[in-house]
C-alpha cells in the first residue's frame, strides 16, 4: 500500500465472471462488417473479434467512432474536482460493433499503462469510452484521445480503488481475451 509499484497494479485481474456468455448473446445483433479506416485510428482492437478491418485488428477512426450511438455521463472522478460531463460511446456498443468475444479486455494507454478489465463490467454498468470532457475534445496532452469512464456516482460499489485503476486514460489499444 505504501510503496506500490507497477507490477502490483498490472498483474491484478478481478471479476472473472461468466462475461463471455452474455457477450456471445449480444454478438449476432451488431456484428456488421466494419469499413476500413480513412484516417489515423483513435483505437485499435485486437484479439478475439468478429469484424476486423485491418488484418486481424479492428481500427476505429473518428468517423467510425462517430457512427456509434453517442452517450453522455455526468460523474465525479478521483483526479478532478466536481462533476464532469463526459460524451462518447458505451464500451458495450463498441465491443459489440467489433464482435468482441472474451472474458476480459486488456486496455493499453499511450504511457504504457496496461490494465485487465473483466468483460462483465461493461454489461453490469454503462461504462463510457469518452472522447470529450466538459464539451472539449480530449487530447493526448491531457487524457485523450479516449478515456474509460465508469458511472462512479450512480453505483456506490464503483467508489472503490479496485475500480479506480480501471479508469484508463490516453487509451490506445484494446485486446480481447
Amino acid at each position: 500500500m505504501l510503496a506500490r509499484d507497477d507490477s502490483d497494479i498490472t498483474a491484478v485481474s478481478f471479476r472473472l465472471r461468466a462475461a463471455g456468455l452474455l457477450a456471445g448473446i449480444a454478438l449476432p445483433v451488431a456484428a456488421a462488417a466494419l469499413p476500413p479506416p480513412d484516417t489515423t485510428p483513435l483505437l485499435r482492437v485486437s484479439g478475439d473479434i468478429a469484424t476486423p478491418n485491418v488484418g486481424e485488428e479492428a481500427h476505429i477512426d473518428r468517423s467510425l467512432f462517430a457512427s456509434l450511438p453517442r452517450q453522455t455521463l455526468d460523474t465525479t472522478t478521483v483526479v478532478t474536482d466536481g462533476v464532469s460531463h463526459f460524451e462518447g460511446v458505451l464500451m458495450r456498443d463498441l465491443l459489440d460493433a467489433v464482435g468482441a468475444q472474451g472474458d476480459e479486455v486488456v486496455a493499453t494507454a499511450l504511457n504504457d499503462y496496461i490494465i485487465d478489465i473483466p468483460m462483465q463490467d461493461f454489461h453490469d454498468y454503462d461504462v463510457l469510452l469518452a472522447d470529450t470532457m466538459d464539451g472539449e475534445t480530449l487530447t493526448p496532452r491531457d487524457k485523450g484521445p479516449l478515456w474509460i469512464v465508469y458511472p462512479r456516482d450512480d453505483h456506490s460499489e464503483l467508489q472503490d480503488i479496485r475500480y479506480d485503476y480501471r479508469w484508463v486514460w490516453q487509451l490506445e489499444r484494446l485486446e480481447i481475451r
Binding site: V79, D81, P140, R141
Partner: protein, 591 residues
C-alpha cells in the same frame, strides 16, 4: 417493598443502557476507521509523481534516440504524455496536495519549461545534438524538481500513514475497551438473568412445596372426613332406628339397612334419588293413622314429627328435621312398645275412672232415687204401727202388699242402678259371639209372655232361617225384656205387641211394636236420657233408667236402638245389631 424493587429493575436497565451506549460507540468508531481507510487520495500521489518522472525520462531518452538516428523514436508522443502528466499534477486534488507541500510553483515552472521545449521538437533530427542538449537543459531541472517532489510526497505519505495508524490504533483501543465494557455488561446481564432464573426456580420450588403440603393436608383432611363419614355411616347402619337422608335438592341420598328391614314393602319404592315428597307419599300410603296426612304440605319448610301406624307392624314415630346445609334427615323409630304401654296405662286409668264413676254414680242414684220408696215404706210402716191394730185383715194385707211392691221397686231400682253405674264405669263388657237372633227373640217372647200371663206378644212369622247376629245373648235378652215390658206397659191391655226380625244393609234388627199412646215428638229426642220420663207416662211406675241402659247395652255391642212413634198410634223400638259375618270380619274374630 418499593425501595427493594427499584434496584431489581434499575440494575438491568442500567446494564442495558450501558450495553447499547458502548455498542453504538464501538460501531461509530469502526465506521470512522473504515471511512478513514477508504480515503486514499494521497496514496495515489506517489504513483502519479513517479509516472511524471518516468514520462520526463522517456522524453529525454526519445530525443536522444532520434538524435542518434533511431527512426522508431517518437519524442512528440512522449512530450504529449509528459504534458498530460503535468496536467494531471495541476488538476484539483493533486494541485492542492502539492501546494500544501509547497511545490505549486515548481509545477508552474515545469509547464514553462515544457512550453520552451515544444517549439524545438520539430527541429529534432539526426545529429541535431545542439537541439538535444537544449531540450535536456530544460528537462534536467524539471526532472530534479520531480525527484524532489517525489521525495517529499513519499515522506508526506509515510507521515500521513503513521498518523492514520495512530488514529486507528487509538480507535482500536477504544473499541477494545468498549468491547470489554460490553462483555462486562453482558456478564452483568447474564448474572442478573441467572439470578432472576434462580429466584424464579426457588419461588417455583417454594410454591411446589407449599402445594405438596397443601395436598398432604387435603389428603389428611379427606381421610379424617372419610373416617368421620364411616363412623357416621356405621352409627346410622347400626342404629335401632331407620334413617333416610335427603340432599339439598330434596333427593334421597342415603338409607340405612334398618329402614329396609323395618319397611320392606315401602323401601322398595324408595329408590336413591327419589324426591322427599315421593318418600312422604309412600309413607302416607302405608300409614293408617292419618297424622301424616295433616302434617306438612311443604315439608321443606319445617321440621316434622308425627306417629304412623303401620298395619301388621305397629307404631312408628316419624321425625324429620332440616340439616344445616339445607338437606333433610328422616328418622323412623319403632314406638310400638311405648304405644302399647301407653294404651295399657290409658285403659288402666279408664278402668280406675270407671270404678270411681261407678261409685259416684251409684251414690248419686241411691241418694236421689231411693229416698222416695224408702219414704213410702217408712210412712207405710208408721201407719201400720199406729193403726195396725185397728185395720182389718184385708186392708192390712193390702198395705203389706204395697210395702212389698215398694221394696220390690227398690230392689229393681238397686239392680238397675247397679247396671247403670256399671255401664258408667265401663264395668260391663260385651262378650259378643255369633248367635241366632230369631232363637233369642222367640225365647224372650215366650218367657215374657209366661211371666206376665198374657198372650199379647206376637212374633212375626217368617222363614225359619236363622238370623245370625254378632252379639252378647245375655245383654240382648236384657234389652229385649226391657223393650217388651215397656211395650206392654204403655199400651192398652187388649192391644197386641208385635215383634219382627229382619236385616238390611246396616245390619240386623229386631223391632218391637205396640199400639199404645205413642210418644210426643218433643220427648223422643230425650227418650234415652237417664231418669227421663215421658210426660204421658207418669201414670206408670218407672225410674227412667230402662231405655238408657238398653241403648247403652246395645252400643257396647256395636249396635243401637232407635224409635219411631206417633202419639195415639203406637211406638216402634228397633234393636240394631251388626251382622254376624261382617262383624266377624271387622273384628277379626274367628268362629
Amino acid at each position: 417493598m418499593v425501595w427493594r424493587r427499584r434496584p431489581a429493575y434499575a440494575l438491568p436497565a442500567l446494564a442495558m443502557v450501558a450495553f447499547a451506549g458502548l455498542l453504538t460507540f464501538s460501531l461509530v468508531r469502526l465506521i470512522q476507521v473504515e471511512q478513514d481507510m477508504r480515503s486514499n487520495v494521497s496514496e495515489n500521489m506517489l504513483w502519479v509523481i513517479t509516472q511524471a518522472q518516468v514520462a520526463s525520462h522517456r522524453l529525454d531518452e526519445e530525443v536522444h534516440r532520434l538524435t542518434l538516428g533511431d527512426p522508431s523514436a517518437r519524442p512528440a508522443l512522449r512530450y504529449d504524455v509528459l504534458t498530460s502528466r503535468l496536467v494531471l499534477l495541476d488538476e484539483g486534488p493533486q494541485r492542492r496536495y502539492l501546494a500544501a507541500l509547497g511545490f505549486a510553483e515548481r509545477v508552474d515552472d515545469a509547464f514553462e519549461r515544457l512550453a520552451a521545449i515544444e517549439p524545438q521538437l520539430d527541429a529534432i533530427a539526426s545529429d541535431a545534438v545542439a537541439v538535444a542538449d537544449s531540450i535536456h537543459a530544460e528537462l534536467k531541472p524539471l526532472m530534479q524538481d520531480l525527484n524532489r517532489i517525489a521525495n517529499a510526497v513519499m515522506v508526506e505519505e509515510w507521515e500521513t500513514t503513521g498518523e492514520r495508524l495512530d488514529r486507528h490504533r487509538d480507535s482500536t483501543l477504544q473499541v477494545i475497551a468498549s468491547v470489554v465494557g460490553l462483555m462486562l455488561c453482558g456478564l452483568a446481564l447474564g448474572y442478573l438473568l441467572i439470578s432472576a432464573l434462580r429466584q424464579r426456580r426457588a419461588a417455583q420450588q417454594a410454591l411446589a412445596e407449599h402445594r405438596d403440603q397443601l395436598e398432604v393436608e387435603v389428603e389428611r383432611r379427606t381421610q379424617d372426613l372419610e373416617a368421620a363419614r364411616h363412623r357416621v355411616a356405621a352409627a346410622i347402619d347400626t342404629a335401632p332406628d331407620a334413617f333416610a337422608a335427603f340432599d339439598t335438592d330434596g333427593r334421597l341420598a342415603l338409607v340405612n339397612p334398618k329402614l329396609i328391614q323395618m319397611l320392606p314393602e315401602a323401601s322398595r319404592a324408595l329408590t336413591l334419588g327419589c324426591s322427599l315428597e315421593h318418600a312422604l307419599a309412600v309413607l302416607r300410603e302405608c300409614d293408617d293413622n292419618g297424622e301424616l296426612e295433616d302434617a306438612a304440605n311443604d315439608p321443606r319448610e319445617r321440621t316434622l314429627r308425627c306417629d304412623l301406624h303401620i298395619p301388621e307392624l305397629g307404631w312408628l314415630q316419624l321425625t324429620m328435621s332440616a340439616s344445616r346445609d339445607g338437606g333433610h334427615v328422616m328418622r323412623l323409630a319403632d314406638i310400638t312398645p311405648y304405644k302399647q304401654a301407653t294404651e295399657a296405662l290409658q285403659r288402666a286409668l279408664q278402668r280406675e275412672r270407671g270404678v270411681s264413676d261407678f261409685y259416684r254414680s251409684f251414690a248419686a242414684m241411691v241418694s236421689h232415687q231411693f229416698r222416695t220408696p224408702l219414704a213410702v215404706i217408712d210412712s207405710g210402716l208408721q201407719r201400720l204401727q199406729r193403726r195396725g191394730e185397728r185395720l182389718g185383715g184385708e186392708e192390712r194385707q193390702q198395705r203389706y202388699r204395697r210395702l212389698r211392691d215398694a221394696v220390690a221397686h227398690m230392689t229393681r231400682l238397686v239392680g238397675s242402678s247397679l247396671t247403670a253405674a256399671r255401664l258408667d264405669g265401663g264395668q260391663i263388657e260385651a262378650a259378643s259371639t255369633r248367635c241366632d237372633l230369631r232363637q233369642l227373640a222367640e225365647q224372650c217372647c215366650r218367657l215374657h209372655g209366661e211371666a206376665s200371663g198374657t198372650s199379647r206378644i206376637h212374633l212375626s212369622p217368617s222363614d225359619d232361617a236363622p238370623i245370625m247376629a254378632y252379639c252378647d245373648p245375655v245383654l240382648v235378652e236384657q234389652i229385649l225384656t226391657n223393650l217388651l215390658s215397656n211395650a206392654l206397659k204403655y199400651s192398652p191391655d187388649d192391644s197386641a205387641v208385635e215383634v219382627c226380625l229382619g236385616h238390611d244393609e246396616a245390619g240386623i234388627y229386631c223391632a218391637v211394636r205396640d199400639y199404645g199412646r205413642g210418644i210426643d215428638a218433643a220427648d223422643q229426642a230425650q227418650l234415652f236420657a237417664r231418669f227421663f220420663r215421658s210426660s204421658n207416662a207418669t201414670d206408670q211406675p218407672g225410674i227412667g233408667l230402662g231405655l238408657n241402659i238398653a241403648r247403652h247395652l246395645a252400643r257396647i255391642q256395636h249396635g243401637d236402638i232407635d224409635v219411631h212413634s206417633r202419639p195415639g198410634t203406637g211406638t216402634t223400638f228397633r234393636l240394631l245389631l251388626p251382622h254376624a259375618d261382617t262383624a266377624a270380619i271387622e273384628t277379626g274374630e274367628a268362629q
